[in-house]
């Protein structure tokens, strides 16, 4: 297979990965790494580098649409980005010393966890206790538009969420993923933010987090232009297409099918990691 054929195939695969990533809410990064390593036999370090690039592209592209709707909370996002970027640096350094097989195994388990987190039905809870003093001092209380007008919300347990965000950053830097599932968990389960606010704020943070590890990947030669090019352009198109599809079609059946595919990919990554096939 020559470079032209390989690039076209990678591009088609990346479009599919971006689409599935958007429809399942897991992001393109978690599909692209297994696809590159299992299907295209790409070394996992190159795969993680290319995935990080695509994560930044989709996050920035989607954030442009999100921030205008007025759901994301820039203060909460920025405060927690200190944790995610520090974590991302740690994750990138970890990736330089950890073997490809170990990365594959960790990837598989994180993928299973993410699939579980995002498939769970979430209960929106109304919290009537008084605002958290720390969150108030950090000016994190906010409002968001709903059908019944502007609704106010008060974040809880900021330090706990900060710690979880650090872990999300490490996983992002080590595995080349956005860690969206874990970020949303910290925002809506721990801080008790409304769904719309957590998903958009999480997306807003993903690009900055990924950039914090991508700098190190680039400088250590982990980002190959020939590989990152079709991946970035493909995932971007697939994710945009997926986001449009979500607004016009009911995709619950598709989501179940894709979740099964993702579980299969995760198991494959774990098996390949243990048998040393990667």
């Amino acid at each position: 297979m020559n470079i032209l054929e390989l690039t076209l195939l990678l591009w088609v695969g990346a479009v599919a990965a971006g689409l599935v990533g958007a429809l399942t809410g897991l992001g393109g990064g978690v599909i692209i790494v297994p696809m590159l390593t299992l299907l295209f036999k790409v070394d996992i370090h190159y795969a993680v580098g290319a995935a990080l690039v695509s994560v930044i592209a989709t996050s920035s592209g989607a954030a442009a649409a999100y921030v205008k709707e007025g759901y994301s909370n820039v203060r909460i996002g920025m405060f927690l980005e200190v944790a995610t970027t520090l974590g991302a640096l740690a994750g990138a350094y970890l990736a330089l010393v950890v073997s490809g097989a170990s990365i594959a195994i960790i990837f598989g388990f994180v993928l299973l966890g993410s699939a579980y987190l995002s498939s769970r039905s979430r209960q929106e809870t109304t919290d009537l206790s008084p605002p958290d003093p720390l969150a108030t001092r950090l000016r994190m209380n906010g409002t968001y538009p709903t059908a019944e007008g502007m609704q106010s919300y008060h974040p809880r347990r900021v330090p706990f969420a900060w710690a979880v965000m650090f872990v999300a950053g490490v996983l992002s830097g080590l595995l080349g993923i956005g860690s969206g599932a874990l970020k949303v968990l910290a925002l809506d389960q721990i801080m008790r933010l409304p769904f719309k606010v957590s998903t958009t704020t999480s997306n807003f943070m993903i690009g900055v987090t990924a950039a914090a590890s991508a700098g190190i990947y680039l400088n250590r030669g982990y980002i190959d232009p020939g590989l990152a090019m079709p991946v970035m352009l493909g995932v971007l198109i697939g994710a945009t297409w997926g986001a449009r599809l979500l607004t016009v079609a009911r995709v619950s059946l598709l989501r179940i099918v894709f979740t099964v595919v993702i579980i299969a990919l995760a198991v494959q990554m774990i098996i390949h990691g243990f048998t040393g096939k990667l």
Binding site: A57, S60, G61, F79, R139, V208, A214
Partner: protein, 125 residues
């Protein structure tokens, strides 16, 4: 412009446009590099099975700029990727400025911290 007009909503809008412009610019540069790379090297074979690491000229800004100026396809793609990495950095820089206009110095500090971490990574860690 009076500081009072720098509301959170207005800042969000500018941020949204900034991010979109960054992604479009970066993708266009990557696409241009792709055309050059594929027309020149499309029939060759490249294998990603074994990790070798990129050559030194594709790892740092100076080398990438040199390669891009020499119209190397891989150099131009890598320049597009650098532009993409710069988009979140620009976003954070803009937030420093926006929080300063709002006289919210706690968040000027928080945002500067994030900016420093990002720049540290971009310098190679």
């Amino acid at each position: 412009m009076a500081p009072s007009s720098w509301t959170d909503e207005r800042i969000d809008q500018i941020l949204g446009n900034l991010l979109r412009a960054g992604v479009i610019l970066a993708s266009s540069v990557v696409l241009l590099g792709a055309v050059l790379y594929l027309t020149r090297h499309g029939t060759q074979v490249h294998d990603y099975q074994v990790f070798r690491g990129e050559p030194p000229d594709l790892r740092g800004l100076r080398g990438i700029l040199q390669d891009a100026r020499a119209l190397s396809g891989r150099g131009i793609i890598q320049l597009g990727i650098v532009l993409l990495l710069a988009t979140p950095v620009a976003r954070v820089m803009f937030s420093v400025f926006a929080f300063a206009r709002q006289r919210d110095y706690t968040y000027v500090f928080v945002t500067l911290l994030v900016l420093m971490i990002l720049l540290y990574s971009m310098m190679g860690g």
